[in-house]
Amino acid sequence: MNPTQHERIRADLKAFADGELAPLARFFVARHLRGCPSCREELIQMQTLSTELRESETEVPEAPLSSDLRAHILENAPTTDAVPEEIVVRPRRISPRKAIFAAGMAALIAVVLFPTFSRTRENARRSTFSKALDTTDETGSAPPAFSSNAPGVAPAPPMSGDSAAVSSARAGSATDAFKTQNGTDANGMFSDGHIKSRVGTENETSTLANGALRERRGATDELRSVDGAEQQARISVNLDKPTSSDITVVVPATRAVHREGSMAVAVQNAESAGDDAASIVKNAGGFIANTSLETGAGQKRTAVLDCRVPVTQFETVVKKISALGTVRSKSLSGQDITAQVAQSGARRQTLAQELSIAQARLAEKEKSRKTTPYDLYQLRAEVRAIRMQAAQARAALETLQKYGSLSSLYVSLQDGITPPTPHAAGWFDSLSPSTQAAWSAFLTNARLPLQLLMWVLAYSPLWLPALIIWHKYGRKWLTE
């Protein structure tokens, strides 16, 4: 038996007999007593001695104080003025050593558990984010999607939220750039937005500040958001021309989001995979705008397909094409063009009304005898110009609507996958089916305990020193 341990236990015997030892120290003493007759004997003697001490002192009763002594003491009792106003009964303070020990253990647990919880939280965040990317809203408009492969492509989040800042550039005849600050209402209306747009063909610049739109070229448009339940915006157009009047333009209730994507997929046979991809696009209601098949180095072929698919089917088509082989790269992006569609629609309606007014004035002038041929010429030229602008606005609107309803997908299918080699029979295959099933069941059920064991072992550099310190000093601290 270890002499040091024996002496330490002997020092604890009295506290053990008095029930003043901490639970862990009591366990150690009790275990020691089972195998140490001398300590057992000493414990018995201590208890007997303690009993005898108390019994012998009971011979001295605690007699009440004599009346003289009591009176004499009470004479010296302080008066009300001499005592403190109030004695505050304070709760018992925690021992500093215990507090330090508890704080250390809490810090150790926090250090051990923090990576686990942070990892779990990160996984949950990623899961939520990926779900948000995969979800299509009820109205049929595709949600914004963007790829980490193309950081330069700005995302087009749904215009609902506390704050959103979107800037985008679209190639084509019309170039729009809009910026939203302070968010929009739940229906995507410009409740508090600040939008600048520039349409290249029309060379117009308009600004929406707190829902107000002003045109630089004489005309003033006011775009105010209305109640979200109505899902429409009222645009007041006050043209400088005498025929101007207010009109109401209904903004699309759903968001118009254009989707674009490109992906490279390694397949076994690029030609047949191209046919499969084409059929997938057609079944989804889209079409192939352009296709090509090239043969590169090593006789590896590459089929390139420029597809147009409905926005609502974009995610489905991407998933189906991804299943044709191994995806080597994928880039998806989205662009919200609701504002452009609304502005184009408003312009088209304004021009249509202007045209009708101009035509009515022309008809009136043609009936009048006072009208000179030059005036008629001027009016006809004006009507012709307005009709041309209205046709252009209608075409722009249709283009935008098609742009918002169709998504572009560039697919590159490359030869690159070698046929899988036959699976070589391993030791697992040589087992009987029942043994394989038993082994699989064992691995399934034992996964969690094994992971827990590995986790505990991995963190042993943290808890092992704590255990050693506890074994050496912790018991002593707690018992003190």
């Binding site: 002997r10 020092a11 007999a17 008095d18 057992r40 018995i44 001490l53 001295v60 003190e480």
Partner: protein, 209 residues
Amino acid sequence: MNGDDARLTRRVGRGERAAFEEWLDRDGPRVRSLCLRMGASPHEADDLTQEIWIAAFQSLAGFRGDSQLSTWLFRLAMNHCLKWREKMGRAIPLSDEDAESHDVPTQDATTLPPRQLERRELGEQVRGALDTLSDAHRAVVVLHELHGFSYAQCAQALQIPIGTVKSRLSNAFRNLRRELGPYVLNLDAGEAPDQNTHFNPRPCRGDAL
């Protein structure tokens, strides 16, 4: 601190005369008993008790309320007793006159039954063994064994760590075992209880006061 003690503490703090009387009736006999067990004669115990209570009244403003009122009083009493012992010298044998005036009713030894006579002799041996202890050891033995203080209350009363209380008690009992060994062994031979019961320690007494 239980409810009655807290209530009494507040009443004492307000200076209620009835509260002082209740406090004195509750703790006065124990303070005097402590003085006796620390080696004072009955007359000296009366004087010491009076001094202790007057000191308690005077220093009541210094009571912070972070312990029981009785614990605070016993701390004061123990300090007084230790100072008194230091002043009077360590060994303070009881004189015959004091023994006669002791509260224990004296009776002719020849008329006592053998069991009671044995008890009386053992009591004298125990008091003699207590006199051999140092003041520090004696204080902790008196508070814990004879007044039922827990280790924590002993630590508060003596203003020492609990570990020191534990080691002092352990050392004191080794000394007492050495002094009272023959008596204890004789008792063991005839009256020692079953050994198995000794391996279960007494439940913690906690707030014994």
